[in-house]
């Protein structure tokens, strides 16, 4: 499918492969990140408290940080959503909660579709195994069978385009190669919902261009892309819609260019 067909804001027709369509619905989601475990969880702290030393938890006001504070959003099939905002605004947390990794404290979160996540690069790679082996590991973690991964492996390797490094241990890779391989695996092991967290930085310009193309074409064949990035150029070229998060709340939601512009204006002033 050509890139231009994905330019329209209307979601493409639902294919047979996804009869029910995929979507993410967040309804007044509150997510609290406990600070407790880090202080509570050691015997040392327990011993100190015997001698009247107050643990940090008792000194800070709340035992948790409210990372998402009443977020209501709906992402439908065919959307390419970019999430922007300052550091600590809850962007990554939002992605992680959609992926089901962080439990939410209250509200409703419904996800329909198979999730394909690309969070911190390097995580989820076995450093001593080769690139090829890591394709298998990650594929299996995504619930694919070895045969399905086998079928996809050549495409993944071709897109990653890291030459002979594919048969070398991951620990010999440069950070750019990490991104290439991770991105390639996540986008070729098809999921319905692709979540990407700030991974383009390490790739070179040529790869970034290729990745943006890939994301645009993905939406026409797969489903829904939600990404977090600080790069407004990527927001403008790859996304159809942008969400601006601030202190765990949605500050603005609309067409990518408009939101990116408003955000840039705000940060400059």
């Amino acid at each position: 499918m050509t890139v231009s067909s994905a330019e329209t804001y209307l979601p493409p027709p639902v294919e047979e492969r996804y009869p029910e369509g995929c979507f993410v619905q967040m309804d007044n989601v509150i997510l609290r990140y406990p600070i407790g475990p880090f202080v509570k969880g050691s015997i040392k702290v327990g011993l100190f408290s015997l001698f009247g030393h107050k643990p940090l938890e008792a000194r800070v006001r709340r035992p948790y940080i409210t990372a998402l504070d009443g977020v209501s959003l709906t992402f439908m099939r065919g959307e390419r959503v970019g999430i922007i905002g300052r550091n600590g605004a809850g962007k990554s947390t939002a992605l992680l909660s959609i992926a089901g990794i962080y439990p939410i404290a209250s509200g409703g979160l419904t996800v329909q579709g198979k999730i394909q996540a690309l969070f911190n690069i390097g995580l989820g790679f076995e450093p001593d195994a080769t690139g090829r082996e890591n394709i298998t590991y990650r594929g299996l973690a995504m619930g694919c069978t070895p045969e399905e991964i086998e079928k996809r492996a050549e495409e993944i390797i071709a897109f990653a385009d890291i030459g002979e490094f594919i048969d070398m241990p991951i620990r010999t890779y440069s950070s750019g190669m990490y991104v290439r391989l991770a991105f390639s695996i996540s986008t070729y092991l098809e999921g319905d919902i692709l979540l990407i967290d700030e991974v383009f930085g390490a790739g070179d310009a040529a790869f970034q261009k290729k990745a943006v193309e890939r994301i645009r074409s993905l939406v026409t064949t797969a489903g829904l892309v939600v990404m977090v990035t600080h790069d407004m150029k990527i927001i403008n070229t790859a996304c159809s819609r942008a969400i601006w998060l601030e202190r765990g709340r949605v500050r603005m939601d609309g067409p990518a260019q408009e939101v990116a512009e408003a955000y840039l204006k705000d940060t400059a002033g």
């Binding site: 089901g100 404290a105 299996l140 973690a141 619930g143 694919c144």
Partner: protein, 276 residues
Amino acid sequence: MIFSATKTFTVGLFDLRMGYIRDIIRYRHFWVHLALSDLRARFRRSYLGILWVALQPLLLTLIISSVLKFVFNMTFTEYSIYIFSGIIAWDFLKGCVDFGAACFLTAEGYIRQVRLPMAIYPLKALLYCAIVFTMAFAGFAIYTLLLEPSCFSWYWLYLFPFFAVLVLFGAPLAIISAIINIKFRDFQQFIGLILQIIWYMSPIFLPRNVFDKPMLRDWTAINPIAALMDIFRQPVLDGIPPDLRAYGLMLVWALGLWALSLWMLVRNERKIIFYY
């Protein structure tokens, strides 16, 4: 066909996820692969490779048997078989605790990336230990048949229920150990000492009759390790059917540990991510 599967899940306050066990089975390729990759990693670039799994307990057995022969003048062959059996069964349980404790920490990359049932990580540790035990047992069987062929009898068939009990007892150990250690990292340091004490207080390398002395009798009566060693050794070494009372004790222990481990798992399944 997993590619086309659409999965619906709702995460909310009362998040009871259906199909937990179904997911464990669905992702079997993944955790089986992890266990095999751990095994490969352990023996990467070693000349004898996987042979070490049997070689290590054998050499330890020979060392202990030799020492005890010189010090206490015990018969070497018979006693070395006794020790060998004790060591491999103990190594399995210790492995469940140790690898269980490490399993969430080493799987951080996956746990932060995909939501899978947390139980697959202790399960991976269990599988790893089971593979190691199977190979060590093969070494033990060969050693026994070479040195003491008279040990072999149809009673060896009683080993199958023993294997089942071993897994049934080891699995909750791995789960409990995994959950405690992710919350209290001191556990990993501390449990080694506890295990060392249990090792001395169980019939692993010291003769069995030591543990029937008045001072230790009550402890031995409830010690699951002693019961486990009995149901392992009676058919293999003594040529008698295993003690049913020992089986009963093992089942009580296993049930208790399972109840505890499942309770801990249900309470902590979603919280584990916050402890990294």
